[in-house]
Subunit: 391 residues, 2 copies
DNA sequence: ATTCCTATTGACAACGTTGTCAGTAGAAAA
DNA sequence: TTTTCTACTGACAACGTTGTCAATAGGAAT
């Protein structure tokens, strides 16, 4: 039945196993193993082919070698200006679009960075940071792969691997509130992939970072509350494993100590994740037998909850209770009374981190740099007992 | 001075031009052209090398061929289960991470999609859409490249080219308010790259899309205002070249006509970009000699501006003026009075669009599908004249 | 006319995979 | 023992670039 694809004989053929699902044959005469060729010839030339023009297509069109085309396209001075012009014209005429994938493979640089952030809808914070990042990226002709960890440690690990597999040149990362072990991030170091922490940095791993001065934030908030005459000052603190929470708390405590005021542990409560136990935190403070008259809240969102709950209970703000939040959420300036807040430069933060990262990528600089950005107190009605003090 | 790298002679050498900046020589005796080898030998083996383990490293460690390793890693049943196990173990031991770049080059699919959106900080809309997109992407093991067009037509073109050059498998795009010509998007079609419009779709190009039912939004808003007893109903409309603006306007007009109410052109104003001339729009309506008693605003942001301006002028809301916005911005439920709004499912929109796109990618389906998502009216104080009507 | 040399072009090996097919040892069948 | 035949493994050509180096035509110098 089957005849040899070389000599055409039929009698000399015997079966010779399978490759995948395809029967193989052996011709005794030619000592040749073979499989029957597929019937559908050249399916590629019909539809699939010529989706993209390559350097070789240009070379063929111009009857020159493809390496000359490559050089012309790269502006290499060894090529004759005339041929360069011809190549450039033909490239435009044929709508040539360079394959960055192939380029990455040979150059070992992708001009792509990875971005890992825990969330994009919890507040306007990360969108603003992203805005800053993208501004610099498009200026420097970089591309970005965006990953959301959704505050999950497992996702964060998966994201890191995904970025490594996609051979990014560098990574901007804001760790989850659950990240303790950092070996997945350490991988970047092993592979010489620079990374910069944004906003949230782990305490257990050395690395470049761009964060706001959270210690100063705690100080400024408490200083302001003391100025307004508060004497029992409380703090709703953030997740304890995040450095920024600790720093704000440290600023909070140090400032109280500086003013020789007692630190009452019952006035410090911890919110474990953005809104998980926030209601309990707020209720705890308001229901104390000896409640606070001033609160520094680590996030505007919970500050707003506090204001709403206090209004509900008939507690007058700011006369009975002053509130200072952090983050300058758009809502804060719209709520009644408007919420005082500590704010850092968010868009700027994205920009600075990206510039830092790209510099590390391009200079192969090994040294870490840690940038601390200044914070600002925006005084609004929620903490202003003397209206005339508004500047 | 220079001796032939082959025969070692000195007298037979003559110069032979340059290649780049490097001097070349010619040996008459051997008829050989050559350049002097670089002094620094194997700089790669020191630092640069072995950043990443490859399939060949595993093959060498196991003393088998790299194609067998590849097959083992891919789970190809032709490899012996024993060798597969050996390979898998060694891959883990050596911390092998597959190079997706190389894979993309040979497979012509990157498992990456491009996302082009006009903005990420103008409202919570796009972050929410992104959230939905990312949820599906991580579920389906896809990666995304994020591009912001910043409402600029030129940027949008650049973004499209960037995505093509990065060989994405598909694109999600929300066009800018300025996009008229769509040839840059048509490119995707030419290259067989599926794309899905999110929220904003051009009128001049056929394509899959996922949008909210903007016509219905206009209808619902006006129906509600009429129910509340409004008789002079105004509309602040969005950019005129965006289909969604036109649809909302069409719903607005049709509903007025349906109720046999006149359409007063002085009550329809156009906002050309998010906040560009919004103040003028608001002022125009409030300063009319015969002002409206109900307004449907195409965006919550401008609805809020309207409320603030009306309060400033002492116009009572909702008794003298009812306002309905669109977008359900978080601020809308916090402002006083709370703003009624029309809202569509934003996160859902991102999910549906992404599922649609991935389906088009994986089935190579050529047919376009246009999904219209239902909108919902959230009634709040800004448009509720009879308090008891709250359900 | 002969030699030298320069400007330009071409050939080819990477890069790290996948997939096709050829080759082989040795078990099963004769 | 000889002849099938099967289960594996290996070689190698893609994929679209970049970069290194060899080759060549023909002008300048002798």
């Amino acid at each position: 039945m089957v005849e040899c694809i070389k000599c055409g004989e039929v009698g000399t053929i015997s079966k010779a196993g399978k490759v995948g699902k395809k029967q193989r044959y052996f011709c005794k005469h030619c000592k040749l193993h073979f499989t029957l060729p597929n019937k559908n010839i050249a399916p590629r030339s019909e539809l699939e082919k010529k989706q993209n023009v390559t350097i070789k297509d240009i070379a063929e069109a111009l009857q020159i070698s493809f390496s000359t085309v490559s050089k012309a396209l790269l502006g290499n001075p060894v090529v004759n200006p005339e041929t360069r012009k011809k190549v450039l014209d033909m490239a435009i005429k044929m709508n040539y679009q360079p394959n960055l994938i192939a380029k990455t493979l040979v150059k070992h640089t992708s001009n792509t960075i990875g971005i890992i952030i825990p969330s994009i809808i919890s507040s306007s914070f990360y969108p603003e940071v992203l805005q800053g990042i993208q501004e610099i990226l498009s200026e420097k002709k970089y591309t970005s792969i965006l990953c959301l960890s959704h505050e999950s440690y497992e996702n964060e690990i998966a994201n890191c691997n995904q970025l490594i597999n996609n051979r990014v040149d560098g990574v901007l990362i804001s760790i989850t509130s659950k990240t303790q072990d950092t070996s997945h991030i350490k991988q970047f170091e092993d592979k010489n992939i620079p990374f910069v922490f944004i906003n949230r940095a782990p305490e257990t791993l050395q690395g470049s970072s761009v964060t706001v001065d959270n210690y100063l934030a705690g100080c400024k908030a408490v200083e302001h509350l003391i100025e307004q005459g508060c004497t029992r000052i409380a703090h709703i603190a953030g997740p304890t494993n995040l450095a920024f929470s600790k720093e704000r708390l440290r600023g909070f405590c140090d400032t109280l100590i500086k003013h020789r005021m007692p630190i009452d542990m019952s006035l410090i409560v911890y919110n474990d994740l953005y809104t998980a136990n926030s209601k309990e935190c707020v209720a705890h403070l308001l229901n104390l037998s000896h409640p606070p008259d001033g609160v520094f809240v680590y996030s505007d969102f919970i500050g707003i909850e506090l204001i709403l709950a206090a209004k509900e209970k008939g507690i007058a703000i700011p006369t009975e209770l002053c509130v200072v939040g952090m983050g300058n959420n758009p809502v804060s300036s719209i709520i009644d009374p408007q919420l005082s807040t500590i704010t850092g430069p968010t868009v700027e933060m994205g920009k600075i981190a990206t510039e830092l990262l790209i510099e590390e990528i391009e200079t192969k600089n090994q040294k870490f740099s840690n940038r601390l950005l200044d914070v600002e107190l925006i005084v609004r009605k929620s903490s202003l007992r003397n209206e005339s003090e508004i500047k």
